[in-house]
């Protein structure tokens, strides 16, 4: 299984300089609040395309007060080297095997899934978070999904500006809508395949976590999934969109609906703990589906253990171990990871004068 064998942090948030060796086992990270645990796994999350698990900016990542550039480097067990960094005032750059590469290329090097406390309200809050969750899952199966969403967003921002400026140049709209439709059709198809893959992986597994029935829903009548259907939707919506000053309908409005299958209960109506269990179930299903036809992904599970009772926690550890995934788990106390026994490498994180340190034991 591909895993991180070394992680090097330099001037990244609370980390001034650290070099951490791993051995492919689960990594159990404990330490007091504010020690720098989430910062550590956020650094790992930046070895995938996007803004990382806290959706931060290159500027926020720079260690204060110095505000110099920051760098994250990782060596995989294959010997491959990944590196991402930013100079002050610049956006983040990526190097793969020592050569400059586009951010999206990271998706082909390392597959990664995460669960963080801010996702606890995923089923209750707006559709945007669920859409992002689904798109990240889709990207884990098909790295090209990232390019389609970037292309769609860029073309839509261009179209929205035309709408806001009340530009009435049909050729210009058609040129943008053609690209939105092509990318949008790929996005919708990728989402549909992702939902099927997640459901199949849930149903096939023996797991302590509840299965969710997933579906893609849409606020309006719903865009036709096809390139042609979307092209028509945008062309016909132009007048209405101009009045609103933005694109009202399209794949950017889709939502993910989840139902606790056994109880036929919509996820939003489940208890907080039940919602967490559903999320863990989806992450595990995603990881299993990936492991079924390729290497298991890296898992970053922030403060997950604390929410589970001892039996569920033991079940989670067993399932992660069975997957063969290199998982990074965080929690405040070391006792949360007792059930892992020899299956985990343990790191304690401490903070002294605004600087994080890792201790292995």
């Amino acid at each position: 299984m591909p895993h991180l064998s070394t992680l090097t942090l330099s001037h990244f948030r609370s980390w001034r300089r650290a070099q951490l060796p791993f051995d492919g086992r689960i990594v159990a990270i404990h330490g007091a609040n504010g020690a720098g645990k989430t910062n550590l796994i956020e650094a790992i999350s930046l070895l995938s395309p996007g803004r990382g698990l806290r959706r931060g900016s290159a500027e926020e990542f720079a260690r204060r007060p110095e505000a110099l550039g920051w760098k994250i480097a990782a060596e995989l067990d294959s010997g491959q080297e990944l590196e991402t960094s930013a100079e002050p005032g610049a956006s983040r750059a990526v190097r793969i095997g020592g050569k400059a590469a586009p951010q999206v290329a990271l998706a082909s090097e390392l597959r990664m899934l995460w669960l963080v406390p801010s996702m606890d309200r995923l089923f209750i809050e707006g559709a945007e978070g669920r859409r992002r969750f689904l798109d990240r899952a889709a990207m884990s199966f098909e790295p090209a999904h990232a390019e389609a969403t970037l292309a769609y967003d860029k073309a839509m921002r261009e179209r929205n500006r035309l709408l806001k400026d009340m530009v009435r140049d049909a050729h210009w709209y058609e040129a943008l809508e053609g690209q939105m439709a092509a990318a949008g059709a790929r996005i919708q198809a990728g989402r549909a395949r992702t939902i099927s893959a997640l459901m199949a992986a849930q149903n096939a597994a023996e797991t302590a976590f509840p299965a969710a029935t997933l579906s893609l829903i849409h606020p309006e009548a719903g865009p036709q999934g096809s390139d042609e259907g979307l092209r028509r939707l945008f062309a016909e919506g132009r007048r209405r969109d101009m009045a609103a000053g933005r694109t009202l309908d399209g794949p950017h409005r889709a939502d993910l609906a989840a139902i606790w299958a056994e109880k036929a209960m919509p996820a939003a109506d489940c208890s907080t703990g039940e919602q967490k269990a559903l999320l863990i179930s989806l992450i595990l299903a995603n990881a299993r589906a990936l492991a079924a036809d390729g290497p298991a992904p890296l898992l970053l599970l922030d403060e997950v253990a604390a929410h589970l009772d001892a039996a569920r926690r033991a079940a989670l550890y067993d399932e992660i171990h069975a997957l063969g995934a290199q998982a990074f788990l965080t929690g405040t106390g070391p006792e949360l990871f007792d059930e892992l026994g020899e299956r985990a490498l343990r790191l304690q994180i401490t903070e002294e004068e605004g600087e994080s340190h890792a201790h292995r034991h």
Binding site: E147, E158, R161, V167, D169, H171, W172, E174, A175, Q179
Partner: protein, 197 residues
Amino acid sequence: MADGPEEIGRLIGLMARLPGMGPRSARRAVLHLVKKRSQVLLPLAEAMKAVGESVRPCVACGNLATSDLCPICANPKRATGTLCVVADVADLWAMERSQAFQGRYHVLGGLLSALDAIGPDELGIPKLVARVTEEELTEIILALPATIDGQTTAHYIADALPELNVTSLAQGVPIGGELDFLDDGTISAALRARARV
């Protein structure tokens, strides 16, 4: 920061705004210039003055020229009825280096982007449409980047010229691989394998 006399500071400030330069490399370059006053600084100043006084855009195609028409537009042999549309002069130069194209050019000077406030008029697209009849063109080859803005511009031009054979360079090129970075062989191959937009 103390960068010596005021004149030097001004020069460093100007150099730092060049593509690929920052304050640090500008300081280094200026120190080098001052040290090599007669071999580098003065000839460079003269060359810049000459370019500043004589170089302007070709009135027909937007290429750089020292008279109204650039050498390509002034050469009757390049009136082949085929026009190649590029975003920038650098792309025109890349096409010329490849020696794969015999016709004339149209330099847009950018790409359509509502977010950057660049519309069809800023790009001289009406002028391009006028050239089609004035110069009895039969084919337009679009050599535009495979980015969203590049493709929006390509579709826009194809839509604006429905009667004409509008083709595009084959897009087998690496992502973000803009024309200026491609080698000559790749450009020739992309030109041979062009397809209708």
